[in-house]
Assembly symmetry: C2
Homo-oligomer: 225 residues x 2
Amino acid sequence: MATSIICTVDVVLLTLHDGDLHAVLLRRERDPFKQAWALPGGYIDPEHDQSAWEAAARLLEQKTGIVSPYLEQLATFSGPARDPRGWSVSVAYYALVPADILPADGEAVKRVPTARLPTLPFDHGNILQTAVSRVRSKSQYSSLPVYLCGERFTLPQLQTVYEAVLGEPVNKVSFRRKVEELGMLEPIEGEMDAGKAHRPAQLYRLRKEFRRRLSVLDRGLNSRS
Amino acid sequence: MATSIICTVDVVLLTLHDGDLHAVLLRRERDPFKQAWALPGGYIDPEHDQSAWEAAARLLEQKTGIVSPYLEQLATFSGPARDPRGWSVSVAYYALVPADILPADGEAVKRVPTARLPTLPFDHGNILQTAVSRVRSKSQYSSLPVYLCGERFTLPQLQTVYEAVLGEPVNKVSFRRKVEELGMLEPIEGEMDAGKAHRPAQLYRLRKEFRRRLSVLDRGLNSRS
DNA sequence: TGAATAGTGTCTTTGAGACAATATTGC
DNA sequence: GCAATATTGTCTCAAAGACACTATTCA
């Protein structure tokens, strides 16, 4: 009989921790690579999943409890050697979530800084690197990083998030102009930092229309790289 | 036994014809959709293919005779309904080739303008649209459209190609500045248009280093969209 | 010489970054 | 008032587009 192909999905779940971009890894419960830290993922279930995207959303929720508002296809990785069980195809996705909805690191879940990744099983290291560069590049001209913030945030906080993702400082005036141009935020009437010894910053939230989609600019944040 | 998933690849082969972007379609020799015009594609063969990319390159060559210098993954399409044979995953690729290496339209191969696509079987219409917008967007900041030119071409010709892909006029001075900045072309000593009643244009070719990869700009060709 | 298109110089406009002035808070 | 950070105004510089001028060919 013809050899059949293993069809899986993998999810790169990204968040911010200590001011740096981190990926969430799970400890594998089964072979291959039992006990190793790896990306959340698993088999597509043709009985229940209506698409690879649904499989990714389902597996992410089953394995981490997280329903991410932003889950997008990254790329597909394939070949005879990436999985010891045989010729495989993995459709990879990436998700961005605010730090506060993640469980603390534990026996089965942990965050690792994307700047210092451990060696990972399968081709998960490659998938993760691809996701990080995709996120970095998309962040230059879109509102993608707002998914790393909670529901309410100030512009200085958001700027810090952009800087963490892009890995370089961002001009404050240009940043505010761009955010204005993107038009996806609305101010909330309360203010924040009532406890800090300086002028409090205005709190903002995403406009309803942008809760699940990006706002995109022509020209980017002009981070020369 | 568990239902197995059908794993295929599809290739969106793009070229220029009569000044417009066209896709190449093949007449299907088998069911499903026997006789219908559809994208070149087929099953991944785990016995021979080392990756989905290799499967795409192999199928493209087998079905059209073309070995494309540029063949890149587009996205993966999946679900229970896109193929009547069952739950399927198709890894889609796109390729750009100069008009002169294509066979003329015939019984089994034809070009269709991407601006007026016929209804296509499977989800090939969707795949094709996705490919066109990807190519358009990449063309704004990279050398991608040079793959639609032959080996030798003039800057005015290249500009026309960009305009066809982008679907809008491009500023001549800016265009030449950008091409200079991309640094991927070198002039050839001979000139062209010796037969035209006006000043002949300098012929250029791709530098060796760029024969198989793109040159990318920060800021794009500034086509406001 | 005239028509036609290639190639270049330069002015104007737009947008990004630098810098700094003003605003608001707790101490 | 002072320290600290938020927010805004404005200047400078770089890049894109507009426009027009020069160059080269054939008829």
